[in-house]
């Protein structure tokens, strides 16, 4: 769901997607490749996918939210 995949083979570690994501979903991993760190914050804007020069990112058009609990 949401930002689903960053292809690690294709990712060149440029970090553009990190800057493109104002929701702070994507971070650079220790291996200098982008990782989906906080997928629950993805708002399906598609900027990361749109801006990726290597077409390594796929954003799903579907987003589900967890069911609401009494506290959390």
């Amino acid at each position: 769901m949401v930002v689903e995949k960053i292809d690690r083979e294709l990712c060149n570690g440029c970090g553009i997607c990190v800057n493109s994501c104002s929701s702070d979903v994507i971070r650079m991993g220790e291996d200098k490749k982008a990782v989906i760190k906080y997928p629950e914050e993805c708002i399906v804007c598609l900027y990361c996918e749109e801006d990726c020069p290597k077409h390594a990112i796929y954003v799903s058009p579907v987003k589900t939210t967890p069911f609401l609990t009494a506290w959390g």
């Binding site: 949401v2 990190v18 800057n19 493109s20 994501c21 104002s22 929701s23 702070d24 971070r27 760190k37 906080y38 629950e40 914050e41 993805c42 708002i43 399906v44 804007c45 598609l46 900027y47 996918e49 749109e50 801006d51 077409h55 954003v59 058009p61 579907v62 987003k63 939210t65 967890p66 609401l68 609990t69 506290w71 959390g72």
Partner: protein, 602 residues
């Protein structure tokens, strides 16, 4: 060990969208030090990442009076026409600057096809009347268009700002303004990826943080959470326009996906009608298979206005006649309200689902609960973009100047013009102001508030709290079909959250600390929206009260303002100047071409 980063600057600009970048560049051009801070990456964050059009008034070609008044009836006489006129008059200069800095513009040729135009040439071309919303009048007048493809629209502005020496601090969320001796002297913030703090010491601060909502997915602007209004409110500014809410229909089967709604990106499909309800477009039907006359965009005056198309669908749902759907089986495929994702990113499953069913079920999800564009924010005391607190300026969607939204593309003009004014005036103020020595006790107090969620041992997560806010505010009967009892019920819940959840938010990491502060801002925004909605005892524009279904002239030809007084919100009316009133001798139906349900017995 956490570090405290102290940054001294003369002008601090908070927020790096169109208004913030203009403010930073223009302040810097006055010869002062300027720092721009953004919770994302300035130039790629904020609301103005997805601009389609910018209105540019060209005196020798256009009629100023017609432009200024183009949205006034549709926006039900709420627009501050002084600001509208000012923005149009200054729009050409801003456009020319954008072109000089490297803007790429796109235009239509005679056949309606999009072509790339070298920036700065052929400005002021008329484009087909049906191509731009939200108002019929606006569409006929919008003269100049640009879009962000192939390069992101604000990247070139960031480059320009860097070139002249603006300093950027990215991925730092500002949590509070520092006020001392009655004026603003800085701001406190937290970075996204460390437990450090940031203290900005400034002579003037420009708020360019946009509007906001409840982070409902599906529209590209929802990372804005009204942080600017919240911070300004806490230092004593007046906030206006909270009773107005935006509405953007979404597809029922893919409500989180921005490119499936009926208000399409005009540049993605060949057809540029914004509502999918042009002459050839698919028609909307309700559960009784009746076409929604009140929803369909017509060329006549009685049903123009984006606002009423959205409300029309909500009213149908309220009457128990959902689902509401587009009949695409009998419409020209070029006008399908389907998948209009940006180039190269087709989502076949979306179109396939629709084609299989022959209909597209519509609902509301995208942008639900968001402020209406250019309709709420920090009240300015003059056209210099100054606020009630010395040293604090506001621009773009943070500015509650209530210019209205006379035509599509006005927002970009407004952000450019107000960003410029705020930047220039903040710089001038900074030049004649001594740097304050910031009181350490006050700084310690603000830092303690900022870091509190990270230091609590237990409490509630911001993710859960955000979900509760959405669940409280999203049902249509809270912010779209309002009544005193339901508003009060939601307000009771939000007050409980304010007192018992916001005060006990926890943050496991810096990312979550930002979220905790966003929840705090969103909760304040909710309270303001509910209180302003209770206060305005009439219906007007996007504000529909079932218990007061008519406009009430002249007593509500007024703006609502909110300010803090003894720890609680005080609401009051600011009368709209009589020169902008409708002609009260006209029959009600002529003053207000759109009818609310229950308003007049048919």
């Amino acid at each position: 060990m956490s570090l405290e980063n102290v940054i001294e600057t003369e002008v601090l600009v908070i927020g790096g969208g169109q208004a913030g970048l203009f403010a930073a560049i223009k302040a810097k051009e006055q010869g002062v030090n300027v720092t721009l801070v953004d919770k994302g990456y300035a130039g790629r964050s904020g609301q103005s990442q997805n601009p389609c059009v910018m209105d540019v008034f060209v005196p020798e070609r256009h009629d100023l009076d017609a432009w200024v008044k183009s949205g006034h009836v549709v926006n039900e006489y709420l627009d501050n026409l002084e600001w509208v006129e000012l923005v149009f008059k200054e729009s050409l200069a801003r456009w020319q600057e954008l072109c000089a800095w490297g803007l790429k513009s796109y235009k239509y040729d005679k056949d309606g096809k999009v072509f790339v135009s070298p920036a700065g040439k052929d400005d002021g071309e008329q484009i087909p009347a049906e191509s731009l919303g939200p108002t019929r009048e606006g569409r006929a007048l919008s003269p100049v268009i640009f879009r962000r493809f192939p390069t992101r629209q604000q990247d070139f502005m960031r480059k320009q700002a860097l070139k002249i020496g603006v300093k950027f601090v990215d991925r730092v969320t500002i949590t509070d303004l520092i006020k001392q001796d009655g004026r603003i002297v800085g701001a406190v913030g937290i970075p996204a990826d460390s437990s450090d703090t940031y203290i900005f010491k400034a002579k003037a601060v420009v708020m360019c943080l946009g509007k906001g909502g409840f982070k409902v997915p599906g529209i590209r602007t929802v990372t804005t959470t009204n942080d600017g209004d919240a911070m300004a409110f806490r230092v004593g500014c007046e906030i206006t326009g909270k009773e107005w809410s935006d509405n953007h229909p979404a597809r029922g089967d893919f409500p989180a996906y921005a490119w499936t709604g009926i208000d399409r990106n005009p540049f993605v499909s060949r057809d540029v009608a914004t509502s999918g309800a042009g002459a050839q477009g698919p028609k909307l039907y309700n559960a009784e298979s009746k076409e929604l006359e009140s929803v369909r965009r017509k060329t006549g005056s009685r049903t123009t206005g984006q606002n009423f198309e959205g409300l029309g669908m909500i009213f149908e749902a309220h009457a128990g006649r959902a689902p509401i759907y587009f009949d695409i089986a009998h419409a020209d495929p070029d006008y399908w309200p389907m998948n209009h994702s940006p180039k190269g990113m087709p989502r076949q499953e979306i179109d396939e689902t629709a084609m299989k069913l022959g209909r597209v079920r519509m609902t509301f999800g995208r942008a639900l609960g968001q402020s209406f564009q250019l309709s709420d924010g920090i009240w300015p005391i003059n056209t210099d973009c100054a606020t009630q607190v010395p040293g604090l300026y506001a621009a773009g969607d943070s500015l509650g100047a209530r210019p209205g939204y006379p035509m599509a593309g006005f927002a970009m003009s407004f952000c450019s013009v107000t960003g410029t004014r705020a930047g220039v005036n903040a710089a001038e103020y900074a030049k004649k102001t001594e740097r304050a020595k910031i009181d350490e006790d006050e700084l310690a107090r603000l830092k303690k508030i900022t870091l509190a969620p990270a230091e609590r041992k237990g409490g509630f997560t911001p993710g859960w709290a955000t979900q509760v806010i959405r669940n409280t505010m999203t049902p249509y009967w809270v912010l779209y079909v309002k009544s005193a009892d339901r508003l009060q019920a939601a307000l009771t819940n939000i007050e409980f959250m304010r007192d018992n959840v916001v005060t006990r938010l926890t943050a496991r990491d810096p990312h979550e600390l930002r979220l905790a502060h966003e929840v705090k801002s969103m909760t304040l925004h909710c309270e303001m929206k509910l209180r302003a909605s209770l206060f305005r005892k009439e219906s007007r524009w996007t504000h529909y009260r079932e218990d007061y279904p008519m406009r009430d002239d002249p007593s509500w030809l007024a703006w609502v303002k909110i300010r803090e007084e003894n720890g609680s919100m005080k609401l009051y009316k600011e009368p709209i100047p009589k020169k902008w009133w409708p002609d009260l001798s006209l029959p009600y139906e002529e003053r207000y071409p759109m009818a609310f349900p229950g308003e007049i017995e048919e």
